[in-house]
């Protein structure tokens, strides 16, 4: 097959065609098994289609031609594994993504949180921290942040280090400002950062009550009891069985009447914990643990 001059974005996979699907599936299974046994990262229950596309993007970026070639590279060359881990674990997001969620959080969750002397929040799968900063800004404006402790976790140590640097691309500030305004922001968004040559440096005050640490939703257990768990657009990368398992972890980690916030196209409907929650906001996927 001709080498394409433009990135294939994981959409075209050389040699993949009718009749090769099963073989490719086998190669992917072997790759994931190898990664798990050699490095301990377990991607075996990730949603297949997007996983497959990410693998092909990495295969292309490494100049390789097949899943088996990637397996060889990953097992013998740890930096390739590091790059693949980034591809597979980075959750692309934005500050105040889905502004209507933050409006609902202000209106429906904040009044409940005001009744608590101390509030523990878990951002599960926080990636590079965009949503952590968004929540810290919201809680600051609602006068609650001093009572909060935010635990932000991700499988990938590299993104956590990036989040702690508090630097985000300047070119996204216009989009984030628009989102912030739609999300019911009460100040001027530019009060929270300083524009620098390398990017927008956010105020250290936003992280004063935030802790970043590595945690693997697939293999690690519960580590504290929380009043709020946010895990938005992370579980969509998992298959249904793994989603169910992680919902068990969230259930075990929430206090009674604790709030679970999912992405706007996620739900508890395929989980056996559905009946343990009431819907605080159906559209924004904010649930409250009642059983």
């Amino acid at each position: 097959m001709a080498v394409s001059l433009t990135p294939r974005d994981g959409i075209e996979s050389p040699g993949a065609s009718l009749g090769r699907t099963e073989l490719e599936k086998l190669e992917i299974e072997l790759l994931l098994e190898g990664i798990f046994r050699h490095y301990g990262f377990d991607f075996r229950s990730y949603a297949y289609s997007s996983l497959r596309r990410r693998l092909w993007k990495r295969i292309e970026a490494e100049g390789l031609e097949s899943v088996s070639a990637l397996q060889n590279a990953v097992l013998h060359d740890p930096p390739v594994m590091e790059r693949l881990l980034r591809d597979l674990s980075v959750n692309v997001t934005a500050m105040f993504r889905d502004p209507s969620f933050y409006v609902a959080f202000r209106n429906q969750v904040v009044p409940l949180l005001r009744t608590y002397p101390f509030i523990r929040i878990w951002h599960a799968g926080c990636s590079t921290g965009e949503e952590v900063f968004s929540m810290a800004i919201l809680l600051t404006e609602e006068g609650l942040y001093d009572r909060c402790r935010i635990y932000a976790t991700d499988i990938n140590d590299i993104v956590l280090r990036q989040a702690k640097q508090r630097i985000f691309p300047l070119e996204r500030m216009q989009e984030y400002t628009d989102n912030y305004i739609k999300a019911g922001g009460k100040r001027s968004f530019s009060e929270y950062y300083t524009a620098m040559y390398e990017g927008a440096l956010f105020s250290p005050a936003l992280l004063k009550n935030a802790v970043f640490s590595q945690h693997n939703l697939v293999t690690d257990g519960s580590f504290a009891e929380f009043n709020v768990i946010l895990c938005r657009n992370v579980l969509i990368y998992f298959d249904k069985s793994l989603q169910g398992k992680v919902h068990g972890l969230f259930y075990d980690s929430l206090s009674t009447f604790g709030m679970l916030c999912l992405g706007s196209k996620e739900s508890l409907k395929f989980s056996r914990f559905e009946h343990c929650y009431e819907e605080l906001n159906r559209r924004e996927k904010i649930y409250r643990k009642v059983l």
């Binding site: 065609s17 009718l18 090769r20 949603a47 297949y48 596309r53 997001t93 969509i236 989603q243 196209k265």
Partner: protein, 198 residues
Amino acid sequence: MFFDLIVVGASWGGLDALTVLVRGLPPDFAVPLVIVQHRGADAESLLSGLLQQWTAGKMLEPEDKDPIEPGHIYVAPANYHLLVETGHLSLTTEAPVRYSRPSIDVLFGSAAHAYGERLIGVVLTGANEDGSRGLQCVAEYGGYCVVQDPATAVAPTMPAAALRRVPHAAVLPLSGIAAHVVDVAKNGPPAEFTRATA
């Protein structure tokens, strides 16, 4: 039925084109459709409601892992990629592909892999080239490809790009696409259609 799933991509001018397509489907048509129509990231979920008035099929914006059911028409929600797995749908927030999220290429590529020769891909009007690589995947995996005649498209760029990648696709005016797709799904592809082979 000769086919289990139909994927459709539309961009500029797509709402009118999708209306014509959806209106042309008989009320008892059981093969599910999955549609990507490009729109703004914060577009409200109006599209499925607008199209619902024209069809007896159940029109909806899917949530993650929703099953693919007969007689259903799924429209990708704004600001997510929509991917097809065997029997169900997945959503992701991965980066836009060539400025598009949802991306037609991503939908078609995943559907081709999951449904192979049981898939029909349809590329409609649009002012960019999204969908051409995806339609090529549909063809490579043995699926049946349909492209709106660029001369009948509000924006001919997208169907023209699809035809450059898949020159053997069936080319039809917008008004003829629904009837053709229904016929092919029920009676099989026309005699001149030859599948890609492994």
